[in-house]
């Protein structure tokens, strides 16, 4: 092979590698951390105050959706707790005005995917396994890539079903 050819091949390989890495980053949501309308801190609630995950995300044990808590769950404490803090004041104002906060969704699967929190909780999987160290997060970020490969690798290791209709239907 002549020098020019070798250089061309080398360049092609480098470009292909770069393009492939770029393509791999399409729809890579790991690290996604949008600014929320109210700067709720999991560090304060789940970390310092050790509130269990299921206290707020109550449906995770018996529903596919973990669910973001209803406003009245917040008010359960914040009627009396930390009522002077600016963001608690805004929270209470929103509640009294009859408006629920529109949280920006971070961990999101495409609509054609079915994920059931209930099934995973039944197997004793910790919330942190997929969601990362949430109790240390001032602002929640997506800790894992949570693409299909991520799910399937864990399923394979743990003898969980890998039939397509487990998640796609």
């Amino acid at each position: 092979m002549g020098l020019k050819t070798k250089a061309a091949v080398f360049l092609l390989v480098v470009v292909a590698y770069l393009l492939w890495s770029l393509a791999a980053e399409i729809n890579n949501n790991k690290g996604y951390s949008p600014v929320q309308p109210n700067p709720f801190s999991h560090k304060i609630h789940a970390g310092d105050n050790k509130i269990p995950c299921l206290y707020c995300h109550a449906h995770a044990e018996h529903s596919p959706h973990a669910t973001v808590p209803a406003m009245n769950v917040c008010m359960g404490c914040h009627n009396v707790v930390a009522t002077g803090k600016a963001h608690v004041v805004t929270l209470r104002q929103e509640y009294e005005a009859g408006r629920a906060i529109g949280w920006i969704r971070i961990h999101d699967m495409p609509d054609f995917v079915y994920f059931s929190h209930q099934q995973h909780m039944a197997k004793g999987i910790e919330c942190q396994t997929c969601h990362g160290p949430v109790e240390t997060m001032e602002k929640v970020y997506q800790a894992r890539r949570l693409n299909m490969g991520d799910c399937v690798s864990c399923h394979r290791q743990n003898n969980a079903p890998t039939s397509c209709n487990t998640c796609h239907n």
Partner: protein, 1032 residues
């Protein structure tokens, strides 16, 4: 050789064009996948050339690049908005069920409403309800979509009777103005409603009308069975609508009636009918149908005879003559008035008049007598509703008395029906009063007389003489636009109420969703108006409708229970939760035969022979019913069970008639009868009498909404008005051909069976000799691939061709459960309807009067699936439980799988069918099933979401899924239990037993697809050699 399939002697075809091997049809069947753009075919249809210029090509190319680049963007931001105050009973992600009553028609079947996050998404029959026992008909399944109808009125209107555009008003203004009219009323106040049978609803109506002098409720149903009650009164002295026990009828003779489509209790009738069709102890029921055209019930008969509508009562009288005079049967043989009345109707004379062989009459009479007390002669149908409908009913009653069926299959006392109380005479009396100016305030609810009455009935004219007309329908329909006000009422799923479909059987109606729009329930409006106008005792109370309902149940219903629950609130909550309160004694099912009043036979005489002209017969379509739900796109795209046509009604003519008049399929004709001439396409329908042209009512809505308007023509306008009744059959007719031919949206001609065996059938006698009769043994074929191993569950299905009546309930249930889209008339013409399960209707035998078999066809989940091996991206795979999976996001739309599927059950999303869905229709989707986009293949998944739910539930309880834990949507709703689904690895499951049945076969077994669905051969209860359906 016909293009059908050969199964020994039998040839099957789906349409006459197939039977004749019409080259155009064969060509269409080859074009399953158009290789050119849609615009090409549209141009070709208009006789133009389709060209793409170079400029167009570059424009499209450029646009494509831009869109492709724009697609590489981050996914859109999604929000999670939680509840403000979470309701306790809703778990997001899990359904909440409410028991209520169906509002698809007035049969009053009990339902369980599946709601997700506060939205009803699916209706299922309530298994605890004795009327429908957990099943629901096609129209009931479709009715959930009506809740989200975008063309429902969203607030009250002041209407101005079509002089100008309706104007929005608020409730206070409407109430004040109407209350003023009520407060100063001097004439009659009339509530014109459809059938209502709930005790609290009726009590409210009584108290309301009781508050005004000379006031009353008038019940008018577009489809009413008034002649049944009248004949019951004339013959037996009690004016009731019986409860017909099709489940106890081992022999059934239908005279121009179609109980499976138009009966007043369709689900109950279908269940009963189906239970008798099942093979048990080597026997099954015998069903014989005499009718002018071919109805769904007639298609399911063992023997079918085409008879002119006016001749139906001659047939009935001939059978009675045979029984009473010739055979000397029954006590009535000694009644001189009876023998005198019947003497002109000897079978020989009937043969002369009607063209039906006297041997047939003898055979039918003999069969009925052998099963006396266990048979039923039923004749209440629109096709038999000539001007002599009452006389036909009286003759039918006579027959049932002779045969001792009265009290056995006709329940007149234990639990008679309230399901249809409208009568023509009530309505005619009202119209007369309206014309005379006696009616001052008229309220209309749940009925649409401006649409369903012919203009000559005078209703629209008579409205002019009514001072105030208020519509409480749900939209600006044909009647509402002629009123002064529209106070839009709620959908039944938003309402409180009650029902008593049969005497002693009660159920509640409870809302499963809050009001979607600024509407108000009918009863709430009545109460509000009574209170505002201080009308009588009712007007002085400040009570809500819910409290009034509860109070009525406390006062009138609570004491009917046998003292088990001592606290009313406990009783109320139990009634709400269970969904039914049954006080009928169902242990003793039979009643004595009633005494027949022979004076009723005074009318009986052989009329003059009818001339040989064409007669018009109107009939009730199974899907559209009376046209009330024509804005429901699911129903409009559902094929008529017999004609397999969608999106319009047609003039059905017999093949002989078409030949004689030179009519082609789809040719537009101008039909004139009475006051109306209408252009309508022709459909050539086998199994009809050659002197009959049949047209379905319930089409041609003008103000139903965006889906229903302009679909078909309004055949109700052809009904003939007499002084005391309306006739829908044997109407005079003039037919004029035009040169125009249109393409019909049929669902039966898209696929060819290529002379392969699809149906196996046998006669009952053959079956008795050999249970596997009819099947042609297929050799065990070797397979290229190793067998799949099923260690856990192995899902399979069984379908009994004897039980399937072709009612489409399964199709609608599947559509609701799986978010199956509607494609519209144009696409149905191209064969692109999306039903995951379809009912293929095959004719066989004599094209003038064929036999019919219905075969549900859905993905067979083949073990050697032809589709799995050809997908280039592995979007369809086989899983370890026997399912053939379709992964929507992987599919790139090559359509190779559909090309390869021998059953043609794979449906392709040619367009984005869910784009531009008018709000709030998007609320009807089932969140458990992916909504597919354009370019993706879809097909039956054996309700994999239900399988998953059942497995999750079982896992949570630490056990395996048991047979019966869950049902697929089609299985769940099938009124005749034709579909069975379950675990083939469980030897005790129903489906395993079905797979072992000697009648079991798989469709296209010769292709070695190893389908997971076992069909049971169709057994017909008629002699093997008799050529069914021919009359001399």
């Amino acid at each position: 050789m016909q293009n059908g399939h050969s199964n020994g002697n039998k040839i099957y075809w789906g349409s006459l064009a197939e039977y004749r091997q019409d080259p155009e049809i064969l060509k269409k069947q080859e074009e399953e996948f158009y290789s050119k753009p849609q615009a090409f075919f549209e141009a070709a249809e208009q006789g133009k050339e389709f060209e793409v210029s170079r400029r167009d090509l570059l424009k499209i190319g450029g646009a494509a690049i831009v869109f492709a680049a724009a697609a590489c963007a981050r996914r859109p931001v999604e929000k999670i908005v939680p509840y403000l105050n979470a309701p306790e009973q809703i778990v997001p992600g899990k359904p909440t069920w409410y028991a209520s009553t169906c509002g698809g028609c007035s049969a009053g079947c009990g339902i369980l409403v599946k709601t997700r996050e506060g939205r009803p998404i699916k209706l299922e029959g309530n298994p605890a309800h004795s009327l429908n026992k957990g099943k629901l008909c096609a129209r009931g399944q479709a009715s959930v979509l009506d809740l989200y109808d975008p063309d429902r009125a969203r607030h009250p209107y002041k209407v101005f009777r079509s002089q100008t555009e309706p104007q929005k008003i608020d409730w206070q203004t409407a109430d004040s103005e109407i209350a003023y009219s009520l407060g100063t009323v001097k004439g009659e106040v009339v509530l014109l409603t459809g059938t209502i049978h709930g005790p609290a609803r009726l009590r409210l109506i009584r108290e309301f009308t009781g508050a005004f002098p000379k006031s009353r409720q008038v019940v008018y149903d577009a489809l009413s069975f008034g002649e049944i009650a009248k004949a019951q009164e004339t013959c037996y002295g009690n004016s009731i609508l019986p409860r017909y026990r099709f489940d106890r009828a081992e022999t059934l003779v239908l005279l121009g009636a179609d109980p499976l489509s138009e009966g007043h209790s369709v689900t109950e009738f279908a269940q009963g009918f189906g239970s008798q069709r099942k093979i048990r102890d080597k026997s099954m029921s015998k069903v014989i149908s005499f009718e002018p055209a071919m109805s769904l019930s007639g298609a399911n008969a063992d023997l079918h005879y085409s008879v002119r509508p006016k001749d139906l009562f001659k047939v009935a009288s001939g059978i009675a003559h045979q029984l009473v005079i010739i055979d000397g049967r029954s006590g009535l043989a000694n009644e001189p008035s009876v023998t005198r009345a019947l003497k002109d109707f000897s079978p020989a004379k009937v043969e002369e008049e009607v063209g039906l062989s006297h041997g047939t009459i003898e055979m039918v009479a003999d069969g009925l007598w052998k099963k006396r007390g266990k048979g039923l002669v039923y004749s209440a149908g629109m096709a038999s509703r000539t001007s002599a409908a009452l006389e036909l009913q009286i003759t039918t009653n006579l027959l049932n008395t002779i045969l001792e069926n009265d009290g056995q299959t006709i329940d007149y006392g234990s639990s008679p029906s309230n399901q249809s109380s409208g009568t023509h005479s009530q309505m005619q009396a009202l119209i007369a009063d309206m014309k005379a100016g006696k009616v001052e305030v008229l309220f209309i609810h749940g009925t649409n007389p401006a649409y369903s009455l012919p203009d000559s009935a005078g209703f629209i004219d008579a409205l002019k003489n009514v001072k105030t007309v208020v519509s409480l329908n749900d939209r600006l329909d044909e009647t509402s636009v002629l009123c002064d006000y529209l106070l839009p009422s709620l959908h039944i799923l938003e309402s409180w109420g009650d029902a008593q479909p049969q005497k002693g059987l009660y159920s509640l109606i409870q809302p499963a969703i809050g009001k979607l729009h600024d509407n108000r329930g009918f009863e709430e409006s009545i109460l509000a108006l009574a209170q505002k106008s201080k009308a009588g005792k009712l007007g002085e109370r400040q009570i809500s409708w819910h409290d009034y309902l509860k109070e009525t149940w406390q006062q009138e219903i609570y004491q009917k229970q046998r003292g088990i629950l001592t606290d009313f609130d406990e009783f109320w909550n139990s009634a709400l939760r269970v969904g039914v309160f049954d006080t009928v004694d169902r242990t003793n099912e039979a009643l004595p035969v009633r005494k027949f009043r022979v004076q009723a036979l005074a009318y009986l005489r052989m009329p003059e022979s009818t001339t040989d002209e064409l007669g018009l017969v109107l009939y009730t379509p199974a899907m559209q019913y009376d046209g009330r739900a024509n804005n429901n796109s699911w129903l409009m795209e559902m094929p008529d069970p017999v004609t397999k046509m969608t999106w319009e009604n047609l003039a059905l003519v017999a093949p002989k008639t078409a030949e004689r008049l030179g009519l082609k399929e789809g040719q537009i004709v101008n039909l004139t009868s009475g006051e109306m001439t209408s252009a309508i396409p022709v459909h050539i329908q086998p199994g009809m009498h050659p002197e009959v042209v049949a047209v379905a009512v319930g089409w041609g809505r003008g103000k139903a909404g965006r889906v229903g308007d302009k679909a078909g023509i309004n055949a109700f306008k052809w009904a003939k008005v007499y002084s005391d009744k309306w006739a829908f059959s044997a109407l005079p007719l003039k037919l004029e051909k035009t040169e125009k031919i249109v393409r019909l949206a049929t669902t039966q001609e898209h696929h060819s069976i290529h002379q392969r065996p699809i149906i196996y059938e046998a006669s009952l006698d053959e079956y008795k000799e050999d249970p596997s009769a009819g099947k042609h043994g297929e050799e065990k074929l070797a397979s290229m691939w190793p067998e799949h191993k099923y260690d856990g569950y192995r899902w399979g299905m069984g379908i009994d061709l004897n039980s399937c009546i072709g009612c489409n309930a399964c199709m609608l249930a599947c559509q609701a459960e799986n978010n199956v889209p509607v494609v519209g008339k144009e696409q149905v013409i191209r064969g692109r309807e999306m039903s995951w399960i379809r009912i293929d209707r095959y004719y066989s035998g004599n094209p003038e009067n064929p036999e019919v078999v219905h075969q549900p066809m859905l993905c067979q989940h083949c073990e050697n699936a032809p589709c799995e091996t050809v997908c280039p991206v592995i979007a369809t795979v086989h899983n370890e439980e026997g399912l053939n999976l379709q992964i929507y996001n992987r599919c790139v739309g090559t359509r190779y799988c559909s090309n390869n599927c021998p059953y043609k059950v794979r449906r392709f999303n040619w367009f984005e069918f869910t784009k531009d869905l008018a709000s709030p229709l998007d609320l009807a989707f089932n969140p458990d099933v992916t909504v597919r986009e354009k370019g993706v293949m879809e097909k039956c998944t054996f309700c994999t979401q239900r399988i998953r739910s059942a497995k999750e539930q079982a896992k949570a309880e630490g056990r395996k899924v048991k047979d019966g834990d869950f049902q697929t949507a089609c299985q769940q709703t099938c009124p005749t239990d034709a579909i069975v689904f379950g675990d083939l690895n469980d030897p005790e499951s129903k489906v395993s037993k079905m797979a072992q049945d000697e009648r079991g076969f798989r469709v296209l077994e010769i292709l070695n697809t190893k389908s997971s669905i076992t069909y049971l051969t169709k057994i017909r209860n008629r002699p093997k050699t008799e050529k069914a359906g021919e009359h001399s």
